[in-house]
Amino acid sequence: MAMHPLTRVLLGLACILVGLWLVAPTLVVVPMSFNENKSLAFPPQGFSWQWYQNFVTNPEWSTSFLNSLKVATVVAVLATVIGTLAAFGLDRMRARSAGLLRMLLLTPMVVPGVVLAIGIYAVYLDARLVGTMTGFVLAHTILALPFVLIAVQASLEVFDKRLETAAASLGAGRIATFRTVTLPLIAPGILSGLLFAFVTSFDEVIVSLFITSPYMKTLPVQIFTSITRDADPTVAAVGTILLCATTILIGGGLLLLGRDRRSSL
């Protein structure tokens, strides 16, 4: 469809503005993280690494970071295993029951965070799970599960089942077929599910705010309390580190995706 030149200019302008609105605001944490003063006022004054230093040396920050890392790693593995099994199960069910179960398993995505948070908090108070590693892992796993399910189901949908039949007809047993045919072909879906699960847990803040304790905090909880408490530029330093880490992760993910696309051609 040929576009009027004026429409084209306006559309381009709208895109640039929206694109900037999406990406640029987050970048503001980078200059703030090198602020010399203990303030989040703009523009930042001078240059110093002290907030990065504070992040590494202050136990409040470093422990919460390590906690998040531990929880997210366990959650990524657990959610990926459970979610992949469920995706295989749904794939082998009749369409109607699969649709119903899928809808049920996706509910954690639409239940308002605070409602879920008070519910889990109530149950955890009784079960003495508040402020425990187990508590965090359980809550985050169910929140990450939908992402794994969606990713693995998507790759199962495009997976050609005749390949399994071919492997079986050539004498491969069930396990050999799964290991050498099915798994390699849906691996990109599983991997992106793993990544999504990790990020979901690493970012989760609402439920975490309720089930946290002074002895067990995750990084987002620490960031949130720090923002509400005072203007400590350490949050900006942490934000910058997270920004860099995510960029590297996305870059890696894109590379994986590119490889996947080429190999499936």
């Binding site: 999406l22 979610g83 469920a86 082998r92 308002p112 605070v114 879920l116 039949t165 949130f224 900006a236």
Partner: protein
């Protein structure tokens, strides 16, 4: 389980056994769902009726206290504003994603996906830095002579921050619907004498409606339950329902009242989902036909 069964084997195994095997695979996920989502939600519903005494007193209190009704109304109003802002901003962007070449398309897609991946708290933090009284936007406004514009702790600030966080949820469904629209239909309209504006409003826009519906429902529902952004960017006059729930439970230890509020939020969400489901499916069929 028929992970490696040949079609003949698959047909041979009785259907009931097949579905039991499939159910067994999904069982861990379902157990986790019941224990960590179902049981807690049931607890909250129960407490909203049972504490401090059995009855409807918590709901009576909720719907008879003016401040609650104001906040409930405000929660819907803010969500509606966020949805409108998202539709207006996402529409041209999603269209451009379908119209440009692969390289530019990748760039636009990245613009949408990057916010998805950046920590939500960090993104809200950057809005705090931008919108605060001594922030970037206010110093820019001051330089053009507009002084004393308050953005943080206002509804405007909350809407700006929330819309940015939720925009990707609008762009992606819009894009997937727009990608499937047959542009020859627009050409046909043009060749039959419709001007570009008329062709857009009578052909392209109606075909893209399923995307708008889908995106708007997702954005609206997610906005209803927002907690972090209003808590950090909002003030007492932009409190949303989630903050009230948190306040009742954590500060006042009123589990019954907090639970009742939560149930109201939960019911609103599921009613909207139920209303939107058939609408979206029906429109989607028309759109792809």
């Amino acid at each position: 389980m028929s992970a490696s069964a040949t079609p003949s084997q698959r047909d041979a195994s009785p259907p009931s056994r097949r579905s039991w095997g499939a159910l067994a695979l999904a069982l861990p996920a379902l157990v986790l769902l019941v224990v960590v989502i179902g049981y807690p939600l049931a607890t909250i519903v129960l407490r909203s009726f049972a504490e401090p005494q059995w009855g409807l007193q918590n709901y009576g209190w909720f719907f008879s206290t003016p401040i609650n009704l104001i906040v409930l109304q405000r929660t819907f109003a803010i969500s509606a504003w966020v949805t409108v802002v998202c539709v207006i901003c996402a529409y041209p962007f999603a269209y451009a994603m379908t119209a440009v070449g692969p390289k530019l398309g990748l760039l636009l897609t990245l613009c949408v996906l990057i916010p998805f991946w950046v920590s939500g708290v960090v993104r809200t933090l950057s809005w705090v830095i931008l919108l605060q009284d001594s922030g970037v936007i206010n110093s820019m406004l001051r330089s053009v002579g507009l002084d004393g514009v308050r953005l943080i702790r206002t509804q405007t600030g909350v809407v700006i921050g929330m819309a940015q966080v939720l925009l990707p949820f609008m762009v992606l469904p819009l894009y997937s619907v727009m990608k499937g629209i047959d542009l020859r239909l627009v050409q046909a309209a043009r060749s039959l004498g419709a001007g570009p504006i008329r062709a857009f409003f009578t052909v392209y826009l109606p075909l893209s409606l399923p995307g708008i519906y889908a995106g708007a429902i997702i954005v609206f529902i997610l906005a209803l339950g927002f907690y972090i952004t209003p808590a950090l960017l909002g003030g007492p006059r932009s409190t949303m329902l989630s903050t009230l729930v948190q306040n009742q439970v954590l500060s006042l230890l009123q589990w019954g009242r907090g639970g009742a509020m939560g149930v109201v939020l939960l019911v609103a969400t599921f009613v909207l989902l139920a209303l939107a489901g058939p609408l979206m499916r029906q429109k989607h069929k028309q759109g792809t036909r």
